[in-house]
Symmetry: C2
Subunit: 452 residues, 2 copies
């Protein structure tokens, strides 16, 4: 008799936790992912900032599950979920097609950054979702200081030294804080002609506060800390146009064009296209961000054998962060086992346990809220570090990360991983030129863009 076949699409927090929850069961689990690694997304900004090497936060997926003998990992990009034939169709790296039949399907395909329909902005304002994105951003940020050192024209130099981060959610705050630390703490002694502390670092946010989902007290703290670090925080401000050398912003009735060679997109996310595919095939609804609405037990309407979890689903208004994806993954894994044991109907619907929110701003600066308590400063920073190290996979990566942090933050105020290779990146299907290669163009395009 063949075992019950579970196909898990996506090796992120959701898919990996679902797989692990089935570790001791009589099932055959196949995780299919288009990359070979499980990415610990919450620390990806530290790769972009030159603090961590990518390997510590992106262990090979098959290495992560190597002791789980009932699971295997497959490197392929899922193209079609055939819910009638119960087959997942994927494309291998060499272009060949692969069919994965399933008895139960778990779709945990995550989200990508969204330019609100204006994908051409990817060229002007890269986002950060993959290892390649982070390498590209690292190249893009660090190379601007190199260019500023080379030029003798003060106007051009100011352009190279202006950085605009669009979107003040946790990722935007973390990235802008890192750019500020680079310019003010890490790089000044490395440069001879340019004073890197002259850098102008701007954080744009369409809403009226930074870190919109957080408590107002923590929002105020974050804003004031960012300002102390040299960041210009602009609230109620939208990006309405961009080109290679500038960004046009609108606040109320006034419009301003800022000469800036670096824009970073941290404004919006959209569900994986597989969410739309699931919705279409099962009749489920999708929300504005393209997320598919699932039943309280994470199944799709009329398809109890299909689960969808994580950033690509809309369920109880949960935020698109790691915790809901992880908990949904574990829940779904357990529900599959309960069903196989004939106890499926006894399982209650998924219930989220809110462990709180946190975001780091910079060295010894962070905010956290959990169980009704609000924490700021060093205690929040220590908590943030402790929890993130704890959730990393493998003691080797945990120790390596602690060593690298100690080195980067406490001993030498340095960034060890500063290799620039002028990567030609590809993200969300959009080919990108190398970060600094282009000369400025005369007039800004007027492509409207709307940050959150």
């Amino acid at each position: 008799m063949t075992k019950h076949r579970v196909v898990v699409v996506g090796g992120g927090f959701g898919g990996l936790n679902a797989t692990r929850a089935m570790a001791k069961a009589e099932v055959d689990v196949t995780i299919v992912d288009r990359t070979n690694h499980h990415l610990f997304q919450p620390l990806l900004y530290q790769v972009a900032a030159g603090i961590l090497p990518e390997g510590l936060i992106a262990p090979a997926l098959r290495s992560v599950i190597k002791r789980q003998k009932n699971a295997r990992a497959v490197l392929a990009e899922v193209r079609e979920l055939d819910v009638d034939a119960r087959v997942v169709r994927a494309r291998q790296p060499d272009g060949q097609d692969l069919e994965l039949p399933y008895d139960t399907l778990v779709v945990a395909a995550g989200a990508t950054h969204s330019y609100f329909g204006k994908d051409e902005l990817a060229e002007f304002a890269p986002g950060m979702k993959t290892v390649q994105d982070a390498r590209y951003l690292r190249d893009a940020i660090l190379s601007k200081f190199e260019m500023a050192e080379l030029t003798t024209d003060p106007v051009e130099r100011a352009e190279w030294l202006t950085f605009v981060v669009v979107g003040a959610g946790p990722t935007g705050v973390e990235l802008v804080g890192q750019v500020a630390e680079l310019a003010h703490q890490v790089l000044p002694r490395d440069y001879r002609s340019v004073d890197t502390t002259d850098a102008r670092i701007i954080l744009l946010e369409g809403a009226g506060a930074v870190l919109p989902p957080f408590d107002p007290k923590l929002q105020r703290y974050t804003r004031s800390q960012l300002e102390k670090m040299g960041v210009e925080v602009r609230l109620n401000t939208l990006a309405v146009g961009m080109d290679h050398a500038s960004i046009t912003v609108r606040s109320g009735d006034s419009t301003e064009t800022i000469r800036a060679r670096t824009r970073i997109w941290a404004a919006g996310v959209a569900a994986s296209p597989l969410a739309g595919q699931l919705a279409e095939k099962t009749g489920a609804a999708t929300d504005r961000a393209g997320r598919v609405e699932v039943n309280p037990d994470c199944t799709l309407p009329g398809h109890p054998e299909i689960f969808a979890i994580g950033d690509m689903v809309s369920l109880n208004k949960l935020p698109g962060v790691a915790q809901p994806a992880m908990q949904e993954g574990t829940y779904v894994g357990r529900l599959i086992l309960a069903r196989l044991a004939g106890r499926g109907p006894m399982m209650p619907p998924f219930k989220y346990f809110d462990k709180g929110n946190m975001a780091t701003i910079g060295h010894k600066r962070a905010v956290a809220e959990a169980f009704g308590r609000k924490v700021t400063g060093l205690p929040a920073y220590a908590m943030w570090g402790f929890i993130h190290v704890l959730y990393l996979i493998g003691w080797g990566n945990r120790l390596g990360t602690m060593y690298t942090w100690a080195r980067a933050m406490y001993f030498s105020k340095s960034r060890a991983h500063r290799v620039i290779t002028f990567e030609q990146g590809v993200s969300a299907g959009t080919a990108r030129p190398a970060p600094v290669m282009r000369r400025p163009e005369p007039a800004p395009a007027t492509t409207p863009a709307r940050p959150t």
Copy 2:
């Protein structure tokens, strides 16, 4: 009065040591390099093998010299050495031209891999000289195991699992040893369908022994250790043709085509094109590898203000490894200072102090010869590790490397840095496709290539 201006072309071992030797002098030193990092080349194969993250062996050049106030680093690619006008012309990353006038010029532009005039082989057999090359090789090697896991056809699987390293110098031996360790030690437990120990790993060498410059006893030891590790060593064998799925080799009168999806080029090096430019402009001779012949004090004929050092020069038949470049750099820096103090004529010509040779084969296996003594096995391995860590730049990188080695080799037999991103690499001006994307083509091309 303006200070004496020294321009150093290249931030490798030669250029960096020349710069450091002038640390306390009344000179203005400018190091110009087309990358932003000083690359510790002897450990680059460990990046290709997934052991080390690139940052630990490629610190930012300007960070390395940040305490040396008389030196600055410039990120640009040198195009022309104008020896009459005493100006170095370089291109900035944004395409603008940059002129660097000098009173003294030190050219330490290194070498690249050579396909003996058949640059089209770069597509079929990538080499390893840069960080991007190493990332590309890591992608190329690791992705082949992924492909082998995906295929069900035994012939195709064997093709994915066949690795051919061309050239048995230290780099070739180190790389082939790493492929063998991956296949036999690191990866077996990670895969479900494929047995990675089925991999066929071949080392080709045109000469009659591996590690040609080493003592015959060490050559025999290296060969027998490689064979114990599962490497097929083929001596007196030339690569005479390649395509995307095979390599044709000739040994004596017999020719054989081996189906193999991975070929790695470690066969030849050629001096930087700047060596040819210097030769042309100063009337100096070049050797077969394009290296320029310099005077015993490393100057060019008729140009006492121009020095050339390292892998791009031919001097006393010194090998193209780190030690001669470092010692020449230090010598040249001191000679410049002696001249400024009016003691130039008192300086003797450059004299190489031979500290010996070493190469690592695999875990606890290495060979070393120094001061007439020959060492093999664990003692040579320990020596190799100690010396390489010692020569790394910065205690942060030394400790980080030791931690990573301990983790990779002693505790878990793992490779922490296994991210595959299917990099599109560019090396020696040749654009390369992503490592595994292509399907095999019907017949092998008959491009002849000659390993050393």
